[in-house]
C-alpha cells in the first residue's frame, strides 16, 4: 500500500504549526497505524529530518497514551479501537489521510501530534481518596456489591483517559471522562463515604481546566475507544444534583489539585 499523509507539524507549545504532506510507500496492511508512522519516521531520520512526534506506550489499547484524529475521526474510523490497535487494512491503497492532534484549550499541543493532558490528572487528583483498606485482600463477602453496580463500575473503569471524548466533542467537553471516573467509584459501596465531596470537586476541577459543557451531541460516545456510554453523563448530573441539593450537616470541602489553573470566569 502507498499512502499520502497530511500531518500537523508543530515544533513546540509556543510555535505556530502547519500541515506537511508526506508520502509513505510499501505499507503492509498488517501494520498497525503507529507501526506505519514508525516506518515514516525511520525514513525521515535517514533523510535527516525531524521525525513526527506522537504519544504511545502499550500499543495494546489499554494505556490511553496514543490518540490523534485521522481524517477528522478520533483514533481513526474503527469504532471502539485505539489508534495503536487500528490496522492499515482499514484503509485503501492510495488514501490521503489528515492527521491532527486533539484540539482543546485544556489540551495545549506540546509537539506535532502530542498534547498535554495533565488537565485530566488534575481532575483525578481533585477527587481525593477512597477509604478502602489497602492491606491484605479483605474477605470477599465482607462488603456485598450488587451485580448491576459491579458491572456498571467495570464499564466505567474501562476509561483509559485518552482524551478522544474531549477531542470529538463540538464543545471540547470532558464530561464523558469525568462521568466515567465518577461512576466508577460512586456506584460501588466502597465509594460511598466520600461520594458527594468527590463529585463536586471533580466537576469543579473539570470546569476549572477550561473544558466546555455538554450539549448532548453524543459525539464522545461514538468516539470512545472503550465504548463508555453517554448514559454516564446523565448519571454524573444526578450525582451533582444529589451532592448539592442534599442537606449536609457540614459544608462540603473544596479540594483543588496542585497546579490547577485559577478559574477566570
Amino acid at each position: 500500500m502507498n499512502l499520502t499523509l497530511r500531518i500537523w507539524r508543530q515544533k513546540g507549545a509556543n510555535t505556530p504549526g502547519e500541515f506537511v504532506t508526506y508520502p509513505v510507500h510499501n505499507v503492509s496492511p498488517d501494520m498497525s497505524f503507529l507501526e506505519m508512522l514508525d516506518v515514516l519516521n525511520e525514513e525521515l531520520i535517514v533523510r535527516g529530518e525531524e521525525p513526527v512526534s506522537f504519544e504511545h506506550d502499550c500499543r495494546e489499547g489499554i494505556c490511553g497514551s496514543c490518540g490523534f484524529l485521522i481524517d477528522g475521526m478520533t483514533h481513526g474510523p474503527r469504532r471502539g479501537t485505539t489508534v495503536c490497535q487500528l490496522h492499515m487494512r482499514s484503509f485503501q491503497d492510495g488514501d490521503e489521510l489528515t492527521l491532527e492532534p486533539w484540539r482543546a484549550s485544556a489540551f495545549p499541543v506540546l509537539k506535532d501530534l502530542i498534547v498535554d493532558r495533565s488537565a485530566f490528572d488534575r481532575i483525578i487528583q481533585s477527587g481525593g481518596f477512597i477509604s478502602a483498606p489497602t492491606g491484605s485482600a479483605p474477605e470477599a463477602n465482607a462488603i456485598l456489591v450488587p451485580k448491576e453496580s459491579s458491572d456498571t463500575a467495570f464499564d466505567a473503569a474501562a476509561c483509559i483517559a485518552c482524551g478522544a471524548c474531549v477531542a470529538a466533542c463540538p464543545n471540547a467537553s470532558a464530561m464523558l471522562f469525568t462521568s466515567a471516573k465518577l461512576t466508577h467509584l460512586n456506584v460501588l459501596p466502597q465509594g460511598q463515604p466520600e461520594r458527594d465531596e468527590r463529585t463536586v470537586n471533580m466537576v469543579a476541577a473539570m470546569d476549572r481546566e477550561g473544558f466546555g459543557s455538554c450539549t448532548n451531541h453524543a459525539e464522545c460516545e461514538a468516539a470512545c475507544p472503550k465504548l463508555i456510554p453517554l448514559e454516564f453523563i446523565a448519571r454524573m448530573n444526578r450525582y451533582v444534583y444529589r451532592a448539592l441539593l442534599r442537606p449536609h450537616r457540614h459544608p462540603l470541602a473544596e479540594r483543588i489539585a496542585p497546579g490547577a489553573p485559577s478559574r477566570a470566569r
Partner: protein, 258 residues
C-alpha cells in the same frame, strides 16, 4: 500526561493557582453552588426547558380550538383569564403563568449564553478536518434556532398578545381573539415568518426534549433510542399543530365572518 510539562504556564493560557491547599468550602446555598458548575447551568436549561416545552404543547393544543369556530375560541381565550375564579381574581393565574414563563425563557437564554461562551472558549482553534459521527443537524443548529425563537417570541408578543405591531389602529381587540388571529395572519409575510419560526421550534425541540431528558438523568442506554424518537415525534406534532393555524388562514378556511 507527564508531570514535567507545565505547559499551560508555558502557553500562558492560565495563571497558576496557589498550589496544594484547599481553597475553602462549597457554598451552602444549593442554587449558588449549582450555578457555579456547568452542570448546574445545564440543569437550569433543562428545568426551564421542561416548563417551556409544557407551555408550547398546551399553547399548540389551545390554538387548535380555533377550528371549533369563533365562539368556542373566544370563550377559550376568556377562560384563560377567568380560570380559578372566584378563588383567585380575574386573570391572576394568567399573570402568574406569564411571569413564570418569562422568567424561564430569560433563565434559559442566560444559561445558554454563559455555556456557549464557555464552549467557544474551550476550543479556540477548530479542526482542519472533522467528521461528525453521532450528532444531528438539529443539535448543531440549536443556537441558531434558539436565536430565531427569541426573535419570534418578541415579535409574537408584540403582534398577537399586545396588538402593537401588524395591526392598523382599532383592528386589534382583546375581546375578539378569533378576529385578531385571522386578520393578523392574513398577510403572506407574517404567515410565512410564523411557519418558518415553527420550523425552528421543531428543530429546537427535536434535540431539546431529548437533551433535557438526558440532562435530568432520565436516559439509559437501553431507552436512548426511544427517548430520541419520542423527542422527534413531539417536536413534529407541535410543528404540525402550530402551522395548521396560519395555513388555514392563508387557505381561507378560517373566514372573518363565521
Amino acid at each position: 500526561m507527564t508531570q514535567q510539562f507545565i505547559s499551560d504556564r508555558a502557553v500562558g493560557l492560565k495563571a497558576p493557582a496557589p498550589a496544594g491547599k484547599s481553597r475553602g468550602v462549597w457554598p451552602g446555598n444549593p442554587v449558588v453552588a449549582l450555578w457555579r458548575t456547568t452542570i448546574g447551568k445545564k440543569a437550569v436549561m433543562a428545568v426551564t426547558g421542561v416548563i417551556l416545552v409544557g407551555f408550547v404543547i398546551a399553547h399548540m393544543a389551545g390554538n387548535l380550538k380555533i377550528f371549533l369556530g369563533e365562539k368556542a375560541f373566544n370563550e377559550y381565550a376568556l377562560f384563560l383569564r377567568t380560570v380559578g375564579e372566584p378563588l383567585v381574581p380575574y386573570s391572576v393565574l394568567l399573570w402568574i403563568a406569564r411571569v413564570v414563563l418569562l422568567a424561564s425563557a430569560l433563565l434559559h437564554i442566560w444559561a445558554a449564553v454563559e455555556l456557549t461562551r464557555i464552549n467557544w472558549a474551550a476550543r479556540p482553534r477548530s479542526y482542519a478536518v472533522k467528521r461528525s459521527l453521532a450528532t444531528t443537524a438539529a443539535a448543531l443548529t440549536m443556537r441558531y434556532s434558539g436565536v430565531l425563537l427569541a426573535v419570534f417570541i418578541v415579535y409574537h408578543l408584540l403582534h398577537l398578545t399586545l396588538g402593537a405591531v401588524g395591526f392598523s389602529s382599532g383592528a386589534f381587540s382583546h375581546e375578539s381573539v378569533y378576529h385578531n388571529v385571522v386578520t393578523g395572519l392574513s398577510g403572506w409575510f407574517v404567515s410565512i415568518f410564523y411557519i418558518l419560526a415553527m420550523g425552528g421550534l421543531c428543530l429546537h425541540l427535536d434535540h431539546g426534549i431529548w437533551s433535557m431528558l438526558q440532562t435530568l438523568d432520565l436516559n439509559t442506554n437501553r431507552i436512548s433510542r426511544r427517548l430520541r424518537l419520542l423527542s422527534r415525534v413531539v417536536a413534529f406534532l407541535v410543528f404540525l399543530g402550530f402551522i395548521a393555524v396560519p395555513i388555514a388562514v392563508l387557505a381561507g378556511w378560517l373566514g372573518p365572518k363565521e
